[in-house]
């Protein structure tokens, strides 16, 4: 399988420095992330590995600008989200950044049951005031679902639904693709098919960061960031 050329000297697509996230539940403080410093260069195919509750999803959510840090500095797609724990980008700015630069894939596919596959893929375009059905169909073709354009999620398998979700994440031509346990709801054969698809997308230059607790899957990534109890404990390439 071809691998993307990663230019480690180029400006990272996402970069965290001393990143922290504290959740408050009443008087209790939960430190989900502590002092995370990590960077993802353009074209990187990386994975955040760790057990449940380690902070993988929290890190992905911060990198995906769906949540904001309580400490440290975060830069994504050239924009400074937070610096020294202080927010630098408004909510509207974060929405726009997310819409234009980031694709997100969830464990549960979150496809709208009343929409067909191609309509689900087109959905993010609605928020960007665009309409490109041809490109949505092309993406579905690319993920191997060219024959399922007008099928609804209820007529598809778990693997097919995840492929529709991947096509949806790509519709806005993102610079960074984040996937939180993307193979958590599929069998191993389907998992391998999805992984191969990620690899193909990366070969085209897309920066991909997966969060998983699947060590077998992580072993096939270019780079693995090990997270435990909210800290990066090891990085392997």
């Amino acid at each position: 399988m071809a691998e993307a050329a990663v230019d480690q000297t180029a400006t990272p697509v996402a970069e965290a420095s001393g990143l922290g996230k504290i959740y408050r539940r009443g008087a209790e403080e939960i430190h989900a992330l502590r002092e995370i410093s990590v960077a993802f260069a353009p074209g990187a195919f990386s994975c955040v590995l760790g057990p449940s509750g380690a902070g993988k999803s929290t890190l992905l959510n911060l990198l995906g600008v769906m949540d904001v840090p309580t400490a440290g500095t975060l830069r994504v797609a050239g924009a400074t989200i937070a610096e020294g724990g202080r927010l630098r980008l408004s909510e509207g700015g974060r929405d726009k950044l997310r819409r234009e630069n980031i694709g997100f894939i969830f464990t549960e596919f979150f496809l709208l049951p009343t929409l067909t596959a191609v309509e689900n893929v087109q959905l993010p375009l609605l928020w960007a005031d665009k309409d490109d059905r041809a490109y949505a169909a092309e993406l579905l073709e690319r993920v191997g679902l060219g024959h399922r354009l007008t099928h609804r999620p209820t007529e598809m398998s778990g693997g097919e639904m995840q492929r529709v979700a991947i096509a949806r994440a790509l519709i806005n031509r993102p610079r960074l693709l984040l996937a939180d346990e993307p193979t958590g709801n599929v069998d191993t054969t389907t998992r391998d098919g999805i992984f191969d698809l990620f690899r193909e997308l990366n070969a085209d230059g897309l920066t991909i960061v997966l969060a998983t607790h699947d060590r077998e899957l992580a072993a096939r990534m270019d780079r693995v960031v090990h997270v435990r109890e909210g800290r990066v404990v090891e990085e392997t390439a």
């Binding site: 769906m66 949540d67 694709g103 929409l115 959905l123 993010p124 609605l126």
Partner: protein, 405 residues
């Protein structure tokens, strides 16, 4: 893919719930539409009936003017008379163009409550009815034993020109020494869609003779030379100055008074309808809010893939407005398609307030009322959708996706 299409698809996700909410709004709007149309139809019908009288001023003996007006408009028995000679004073009054003396009487069958209404008229009455078309002929003389029948009564009695109309007095008539008579049907009126369709017309002197009311009349309809408000006022005053213990009032006054009476009823009924609409709004709010709670994760996903709070607000608001607008259209559809049934019900329900309602259809299709009802439905959606839309727009994507909400 556009907002509207997505909103429609979202509404169709829970078809039964959407349908029930839509029906709730529809019923409230149908009632509102029917009442507004009924009121407009009532005013329109009354106006048409007054216009068909061909007169602007009515002169009747003292008594309740509204009762008199009802008798004049719809026929009946009103035991207050004026002397026919008074008519000569009226016709000679400045500002009066034409005047028609009328005697009215009725025979009521107490078993069937069937009314036969008789109008004794002169040629002057025909002058106020230029649109009359008679199948047959006019009366041959001022005291001829002849009748002209309105089309409805002719159909009911199965009589045609040339037939004999047998006048048989009821018990009250016989007790008063009134005569039975056989009269020739000389003509049948083409349908006028007015009260005339139900009347039996005969020459004034014939009716006076048969009903033992020599020299008596009940009402004089007056057509003024000029019908602008100041001229009409002057003519009315001139007629009042004649004295003679008469009620003289312009028919526009009757219309205003009837409209005022209807207005009072309308305000009361509208208050009830508004309560129904408020309940409908609460139902819509509940439906949409439930849908928002059910779709929290989905809304979180939408935000995660780039939807802003304003986008989510607009989507939920669009759904609510669509639902209400569809409910409004459905309600108008119900009201228009079942107008006859609703009108029958309202006529019965309002019978106690209005002794006689215009005979023309009261609930029709009015673009103005349709637009008003649609506007109200949309406004309902705008109001009822605000809170659910705001709740949805305030969702934090991470918490929603985790199902924390």
């Amino acid at each position: 893919m556009e907002y509207l299409r997505l909103a429609v698809k979202n509404l169709l996700r829970r078809k039964t719930r959407t349908l029930l909410t839509l029906v709730g709004i529809g019923v409230a709007i149908a009632v509102l539409y029917s009442l507004l149309e009924f009121q407009r139809g009532y005013e329109r019908g009354l106006n048409a009936e007054i216009n068909q009288l061909g007169a602007q001023i009515m002169v009747v003996p003292k008594g309740c003017p509204y009762e008199a007006a009802t008798i004049v408009l719809h026929g009946g028995k009103w035991p207050r008379y004026m002397e026919e000679s008074y008519f000569e004073k009226i016709i000679a009054t400045p500002g009066v163009s034409q005047a028609a003396p009328i005697l009215m009487d009725a025979m009521i069958n107490p078993a069937t409550h069937d009314n036969k209404i008789f109008l004794g008229i002169t040629e002057a009455y025909g002058a106020l009815r230029p649109a009359w078309q008679i199948d047959g002929a006019a009366f041959s003389g001022p005291a001829a034993r002849e009748v002209i029948l309105g089309t409805s009564i002719a159909e009911k009695l199965r009589l045609k020109p040339g037939d004999t109309f047998r006048l048989r007095q009821d018990a009250a008539g016989r007790a008063a020494g009134k005569d039975d008579a056989d009269l020739t049907v000389v003509g049948v009126l083409a349908r006028t869609r007015s009260q005339d369709d139900g009347f039996i017309f005969m020459p004034l002197h014939t009716l006076q003779t048969l009903f033992k009311l020599p020299g008596k009349i009940v009402v004089v309809l007056v057509r003024a030379e000029n019908i602008d408000a100041p001229s009409l006022e002057r003519t009315t005053q001139a007629l009042r100055d004649l004295g003679g213990n008469m009620n003289i009032f312009p028919l526009s006054e009757l219309l205003n008074n009837a409209a005022q009476l209807m207005q009072v009823t309308k305000v009361f009924v509208l208050a009830i309808v508004l309560v129904a609409i408020a309940i409908g709004a609460a139902g819509v709010l509940n439906t949409i809010l439930m849908a928002v709670f059910e779709r929290m994760q989905e809304i979180g996903m939408m935000k995660a893939i780039g939807a802003s709070p304003a986008d989510i607000f607009a989507l939920i608001w669009t759904e609510t407005v669509l639902l209400c607008a569809a409910g409004g259209l459905f309600g108008i559809g119900i009201a228009v398609t079942s107008a006859r049934g609703i009108e029958w019900f309202l006529r019965r329900a309002m019978a106690s307030q209005f002794s006689q309602l215009p005979e023309t259809a009261l609930i029709g299709v009015s673009p103005g009322v349709i637009l008003l009802c649609i506007g109200l439905s949309v406004a309902l959606g705008v109001l009822a959708g605000f809170y659910p839309a705001w709740r949805a727009s305030a969702v934090k994507p991470i918490e929603a996706i985790r199902g924390a909400n």
